[in-house]
Amino acid sequence: MQKMIIAEDDPMLQEVYNMKFSNSGFEVFMAENGKVALEILKKEKIDIVITDSIMPEMDGLELIKNLRGGDYDSNLRIIMLSNLSQKEDRDRVMQLGANGFIAKSDFTPAQLIVEVKKILNIA
């Protein structure tokens, strides 16, 4: 089973994503910001990080910078799931080393799973 961290500060979206990804065969760890995500990474062997962009304490960009800064497994796959959907936001995230970018409100949870699997190359 793939282990996944979802960094998301909105409790409602946490519930939606947690339910959908858990039901779709992922082992999900929820983090309310980037800092918490990094703490989980110290204890768990994680395959995928899905992160929101705007979060308190440590936002998604800062989290990706940390994850790609050399101290973490470079095989760790990172997807940003954000409501900032301008091309410049997307470019920036990809430049920082994310594997994908998904505009949040464009997808239902079921479509989101399909999209995430596509990015991760898992059927």
Partner: protein, 246 residues
Amino acid sequence: MNKTANEQQLDTAKSDFISIASHQLRTPLTAIKGFVSLLLEGSYGEVESKQQDVLKKIYDSNQKLINLVDDLLNISRMETGRMDFAFVSGQFEDICQKVIGIYDSKAREKGLYLEYVKSVIVLPEIMIDGDRLGEVISNMVDNAIKYTAKGGVKLKVEEKDGNIRVVVSDTGMGVLDDEMPHLFTKFSRGKDTKRLNVNGIGLGLYVGKFVVEAHGGRIWAESEGENKGSRFILELPIKTSLTITS
């Protein structure tokens, strides 16, 4: 129109506000979309068909709100020069086919025909932002269906005088002379709200005009008057600096 520094500052502040508010609005709207989808998928147990109908209505209304927020965001980007375009070589026919696919059932539900008239010649590919132009043409067709009670809507693509032209004509309520100058302005829905008893806040054509002009084209409307139908015409030059040279 030249704006003073103060006016420009006010514009920027206004647009920044819309931008931030839009992001804040999207989060709960995305949550509603998520929960309703999960309910519909049966993630919280089986849902009766009547309840499913209601859930679909909630889903559709919520989607309208998401689209509205997107429109407001687009406007704030437009007005601060931050709207970005991804121009790639594209074919107008493909965009129009897609639009027809989306609106076919909507027209039929209203008892209207939706006819697609292809160009008689093969149109050249030109540099376009297909997604954004698709939204503009969708909006033209959506409006035509909205303002037509009987008859139907025709979407025609043709080459005319060195331009690619998309014409959306309908047999609907037409455009009054005093409505004409306001069609492409912000929040314009016509003064006579009784006559135009429809949803929407009048942003579609305003955004559409901006997008078309960013492609070096133009968009305008024609109508013979009340209840005589209308034609919305979008024209992009084939030979622009954006055209692909082969």
